[in-house]
């Protein structure tokens, strides 16, 4: 997901990573405060607008939601039928539409349906907010952020290197796969045990190669003077600008309003 961030630089891309993280946290917190599906729906519409602003292809979200669909459906059904009739404040939510089983067990209530929607929307919101955050933020910004919160250099370096080597490892794995398929390796067929075993001819060369690469990498890092001086030179830094302050203030304002609504039981179930 991190790899998207280099393309088409837009408005959201130019916001500071801390501003975006702040909004992310606020958006997620609000879904817990204002549980009514209508508030969730409003948040989703707002995020869709951001999607449009950031120029993120909808395919990203469609693919993820599609993968999550079975879980979302199960979640919805289970919540809708298991919503407890007793602890609801608003009587209209207690209306029972029908019972799943005879003997008045597992009732489908209006409140249950709403709660089901609320949970589903919460997941969708988290997915969307994560996509927006990662899509509009270069990895470096996250690394700068880690540095600001005093995560040690060696740890952020490991993270960068790991991300940097994803394409390299993919290429290696593909080459190994080609080589073993050419030797008739049956990949992913038969019983589960056989299937797992069939991937050994791929896993072993890839792992052996990674171990070898890690030694070369250690040598290369030393060759480049890693850890030679403290502090090392910081070439770029993240900086909160005026628009960041505006956005953070707006975010906090929205949060305070939500808190107010929550206290007065508006927009909740």
């Amino acid at each position: 997901m991190f790899t998207h961030s280099n393309k088409n630089i837009g408005f959201l891309h130019r916001l500071d990573v801390r501003t975006k993280l702040c909004w992310f946290i606020i958006a997620v917190t609000i879904t817990f405060l204002l549980t009514h599906p209508l508030s969730g729906l409003m948040t989703i519409i707002f995020l869709l607008v951001l999607f449009n602003i950031a120029n993120i292809p909808f395919i990203h979200i469609r693919r993820l939601i599609f993968l999550l669909l079975p879980i979302l459906i199960i979640m919805f059904v289970v919540t809708a039928f298991s919503f407890s009739v007793d602890d609801q404040s608003n009587t209209q939510y207690q209306r029972v539409l029908f019972y799943l089983f005879p003997g008045e067990s597992s009732p489908l209530t209006v409140g249950g349906i709403l709660m089901g929607f609320s949970l589903v929307f919460r997941i969708v919101i988290m997915v969307m907010a994560t996509i927006i955050l990662t899509y509009t933020t270069p990895v470096d910004d996250f690394l700068h952020f880690f540095r600001k919160i005093k995560v040690p250099y060696s740890i952020t370096f490991i993270i960068t290197t790991a991300i940097r080597f994803i394409p390299t490892m993919e290429t290696k794995a593909r080459m190994v796969m080609d080589a073993q398929r050419s030797r008739g390796a049956p990949l992913g067929t038969g019983s589960i045990l056989k299937r797992i075993k069939s991937y050994l001819p791929i896993m072993i060369p890839v792992i052996v190669d990674s171990i070898r690469m890690s030694e070369y990498l250690a040598v290369a890092v030393l060759n480049r003077g890693f850890d030679a001086t403290k502090p090392y030179t910081i070439l770029e830094d993240i900086e909160l600008r005026q628009k960041d302050y505006v956005f953070i203030t707006a975010g906090i304002l929205i949060f305070v309003i939500s808190l107010f609504l929550y206290v007065h039981n508006i927009g909740t179930i």
């Binding site: 991300i163 940097r164 290696k172 008739g184 070369y216 001086t229």
Partner: protein, 581 residues
């Protein structure tokens, strides 16, 4: 300091790796002059890499072991200073560029070294475009390293080192993964660094032609010791010394040496560069009668044989939209020995992957013995097509040589038990690894692992064997052994398709050359025809094999002979010289 002009000095150094039985270096003495370009040559395992790692302190600080003697790099005793401190004086570029690039963008990668050394930000920002320009990567700042070509990656690795402003640049076989054009460019860069910018360059390499053209002096290592030291010309005119040290002699020098030993001519001093050689040859041949040459006697007599491969209008487009093949059509008959050549990225690998259905055509068809690959699968096709990949380590996973070969036999042919044993023994005998049958594959040397990969394909007894760059990373002895092995596979009746960057090997061994350029067949035919089309070669960024280069030049001077193999050239020249008028 014995001498101020020496920037590197090694004094009686012996070194044994922590896990080694034999010393890797033995009582080595070496001085390198400031501003010189020194090449280190010698067989695989002679100690070239060890020597370079000694210079920047990786030995003994990173690789522990027993060390004696003293190494002084730019006035620093390497045993007393950290690798990171030495990095300000000496930069080491390794063989595999992939493990040396650490930044997410070109710019960030170049900045990594100087940032670690604590250079001020303005200085780093000013350095980045300058070093990128020096290595020929101007305006690459925001490119993603994974998308660069092998040659570009290697030059980026050099830029990353240069940005730290060392005095000495050490390179360990930097061109082993590169095609001839990128290799030449890389050496050009190093030459410029040395002679225009004042760096001291020390480079381990197997490339004789480049070592000859670019270096001021050559050190030959043998078994951890310096076996020879001197000027490139002196090394390469001594053919027996080259052969003894596992160094490939320049084709022209070897040719003139052989000519001299047939007693047909006497040459005072054997010229080593192509131009000098051509001059010498011209003097010898001037004014002699022309004898008709029959060098292309092996013209298409294959045509009656069975068609093994038929490719019809093959297109391949990768998922990212890159069109790697644009309409390839060709036929390959049983018993042919094909060299598939072309620059990196020309589509060679993409093409051969269609033969055993590792890839399916985006458009067009591939037929193997009449069967469309669309109606078959990779393991069924494996009976007909064996594929030896470039890096044997991408397939080795068993704990013994025997099991490694049994894997393919079991999965492709469904053979086990006594018959499998027979075939395993046969294949190992053929490649000369019979005594290694119970060894762990990773305990074998690189050349042996490559032979193991050949053996595991051979055991399946496929009609067609595809070999991808079989000589990459091998020294001259390994290269010759591998080519001998491939030739004997061919004489057993296997159809051979060899991908190579080495035009001399292609000309000397193949019966047919196919040049790919940007996904199209640029030329296809017998070596004599293909290699005489200099325009197509140039468009495909290929340099003709030495014999073709020599005869092309001689023809320009009025001596009308044509040859693409050195052996053909010898026949013609000897014939000429014997029939004097």
């Amino acid at each position: 300091m014995k001498n101020n002009s020496n920037i590197l000095s090694i004094d009686q150094v012996s070194y044994k790796y922590g896990n080694g039985n034999e010393p890797a270096l033995r009582e080595l003495d070496l001085d390198v002059k400031r501003g010189h370009f020194t090449s280190i040559m010698g067989k695989t395992g002679a100690g070239k890499t060890t020597l370079l790692m000694l210079l920047n302190g990786l030995i003994p600080h990173f690789f522990d072991g027993e060390i004696q003697g003293r190494v002084t790099t730019a006035r620093l005793d390497t045993q007393r200073y950290h690798i990171q401190t030495l990095a300000r004086r000496i930069g080491l570029v390794l063989q595999d560029p992939d493990t040396q690039i650490l930044g997410m963008t070109v710019e960030k990668d170049v900045a990594f070294g100087p940032s670690n050394l604590g250079f001020p930000p303005e200085k780093i920002r000013e350095t980045i475009p300058r070093v990128l320009d020096t290595v020929g990567l101007a305006n690459y700042e925001h490119r993603v390293p994974a998308k660069l070509s092998g040659g570009e990656k290697q030059r980026l690795a050099i830029a990353g080192i240069l940005a730290m402003q060392p005095l000495i640049l050490a390179l360990d076989e930097p061109t082993s993964e590169l095609d001839p054009l990128s290799r030449r460019r890389l050496f050009d860069t190093c030459y410029k660094l040395c002679h225009s910018l004042g760096y001291t360059v020390i480079c381990a390499t197997h490339d004789s032609e480049e070592a000859l053209l670019y270096s001021d002096s050559i050190i030959v290592l043998e078994n951890g010791k310096i076996a020879w030291e001197g000027k490139p010309g002196d090394l390469f005119s001594d053919i027996s010394l080259c052969k003894l040290s596992g160094i490939r002699p320049p084709a022209i020098a070897e040719f003139l040496h052989d000519l001299q030993s047939t007693d047909t001519v006497s040459i005072q001093e054997i010229p080593v560069t192509l131009n000098e050689g051509i001059d010498a040859l011209y003097t010898l041949l001037k004014g002699r009668t022309i004898l008709s040459s029959n060098w292309n006697s092996l013209t298409a007599k294959q045509s009656q044989k069975e068609t093994m491969i038929e490719v019809k209008n093959l297109y391949h487009r990768y998922e990212d939209g890159f069109e790697a093949l644009h309409g390839i059509s060709l036929q390959i008959k049983a018993g042919e020995f094909i060299a598939l050549v072309g620059q990196n990225g020309a589509g060679k690998s993409t093409f051969v992957k269609h033969l055993n259905r590792l890839l399916l055509p985006t458009e067009g068809d591939v037929f193997i013995k009449g069967v469309n690959t669309k109606n078959s699968d990779t393991s069924t096709l494996g009976k007909t097509i064996g594929y030896v990949f470039q890096n044997p380590d991408h397939q080795i996973f068993s704990s013994s040589v025997r099991e490694e070969i049994a894997f393919g036999l079991h999965h492709i042919c469904g053979i086990g038990g006594a018959e499998a044993d027979d075939r395993i023994h046969y294949a190992l005998n053929f490649v000369g690894l019979a005594d290694k049958i119970d060894r762990h594959p990773f305990s074998l040397g690189k050349g042996e692992r490559q032979k193991l990969a050949v053996a595991s394909v051979l055991a399946v007894e496929p009609d067609i064997i595809v070999i991808d760059e079989p000589t990459t990373g091998l020294d001259w002895i390994g290269t010759q052994q591998m080519m001998k092995l491939i030739t004997s596979l061919h004489s057993l009746g296997h159809t051979v398709i060899m991908i190579t960057h080495d035009m001399q090997l292609a000309a000397d061994y193949a019966s047919r050359i196919i040049i790919l350029n940007r996904g199209k067949v640029a030329a296809d035919g017998i070596p004599g025809d293909v290699f005489s089309q200099s325009e197509i070669l140039e468009q495909s960024s290929l340099v003709p094999p030495p014999a073709a280069l020599i005869t092309n030049e001689l023809r320009k001077r009025g001596i009308n002979i044509t040859a693409v193999r050195m052996s053909d050239l010898r026949e013609i020249v000897v014939g000429r010289l014997l029939h004097r008028t």
